[in-house]
């Protein structure tokens, strides 16, 4: 259940953005999650909802884009894609050499969607 620790880190980044942009509500957060991370989307969602109760983030949704793994053979240069963790084998199917991983280790935030404080009504 390290998703709770990940959600805590995410909340820190979101809170920082909320302050800097004077947001009064956060509606949506877009994330990129690589297939190589061991993040369980449902557990991250659950942790997020639990952590953000009674905050400006309450009710916000996490839009998680799962990033497949892409690699390239260090020997022959063949590009290999893995859409499912069951397919992981980082030895080249053609020449047997090591596949270097280029993408799929992501655990990043991309965009925050929220409502700004109305300048006229700000106190």
């Amino acid at each position: 259940m390290h998703e709770l620790a990940i959600a805590e880190s995410l909340l820190e980044i979101v809170n920082d953005t909320v302050k800097r942009h004077h947001l009064i509500k956060v509606n949506k957060i877009r994330l990129k999650i690589g297939l190589l991370t061991s993040v369980v989307p449902e557990a991250l969602e659950f942790s997020w909802q639990a952590l953000t109760k009674n905050t400006v983030c309450e009710g916000s949704s996490l839009e998680m884009k799962m990033i497949p793994v892409r690699g390239r053979c260090r020997g022959c240069g063949k590009e290999v894609f893995y859409k499912d963790a069951d397919q992981f084998c980082f030895l080249c199917p053609d020449c047997g050499q090591e596949i270097e991983i280029l993408e799929g280790r992501d655990l990043s935030i991309e965009e925050i969607e929220g409502e700004e404080e109305d300048e006229n009504s700000s106190s």
């Binding site: 990940i6 655990l107 700004e116």
Partner: protein, 220 residues
């Protein structure tokens, strides 16, 4: 309004880990993040490693546990600096926990620091603690399907110790198969089959550790 924020979610931990790494580099300390599932033999490996190396290098240990100080007590008997971290429920050690433990260690008197992570094959792989290398243990009783089931830890590790090989006659599993499955996930892994019970294979591991420390010290 939409605000683009392109950041690694774990950047706070990555930053702390980098600061720790710089500090350890400055002091010439080799840091190993030791990971495995519960009961694979992390503490036993530490005991054997200390017995073998305590007269050759200055070792120190940070013991991570969800609860209790049992492991720290086992290691403390060897008379080397040991700090206990209780994560109070968290399934892994992070950079901050190691940073908080540092005041209890004299970094000028340490050559190799081993951080024994919480027993877990998933979470510790995601959080750096300022280490040079991640080393993992898989015991033969856990089965050869573990690399496929927990790819991140195998991917992130530099060394895989296959422990409890003395039990091979009693389990439906063999070292070659585990090794083959692990190398599929990480072709660069250095693999040492060991037994903390019979001491088989342990010298290859301690020699690796000693050489890696010397290489780091020479390179600084």
């Amino acid at each position: 309004m939409k605000i683009p924020v392109v950041k690694n979610i774990l950047e706070a931990n990555e930053r702390i880990s980098l600061e720790l790494k710089q500090l350890f580099d400055q002091k010439g300390i080799l840091v190993i993040n030791l990971m495995s599932s519960p009961g694979a033999g992390k503490t036993s490996l530490l005991e054997k490693t200390i017995e073998d190396l305590k007269d050759k290098v200055r070792l120190a240990v940070i013991e991570g546990d969800v609860q209790t100080t049992l492991d720290a007590e086992r290691i403390g008997k060897y008379g080397i600096p040991t700090v206990q971290i209780n994560t109070h429920g968290a399934c892994h050690i992070d950079g901050n926990m190691v940073k908080d433990a540092l005041p209890e260690l004299n970094l000028d008197e340490i050559d190799i620091l081993i951080v024994e992570n919480v027993g877990n094959l998933v979470c510790p792989a995601e959080f750096k603690v300022g280490e040079d290398y991640k080393v993992m243990i898989l015991s033969v009783t856990e089965g050869e399907d573990k690399p496929a089931k927990y790819p991140l830890m195998f991917q992130e590790s530099t060394v895989l110790l296959i422990n409890k090989i003395d039990l091979i006659p009693y389990v439906d599993c063999n070292v070659d198969k585990i090794k083959k499955e692990a190398l599929k996930i990480n072709p660069k892994l250095t693999v040492f089959p060991i037994s903390c019970k019979t001491n088989e294979g342990l010298s290859a591991w301690t020699q690796w550790l000693l050489k890696t420390w010397k290489d780091k010290a020479d390179g600084l």
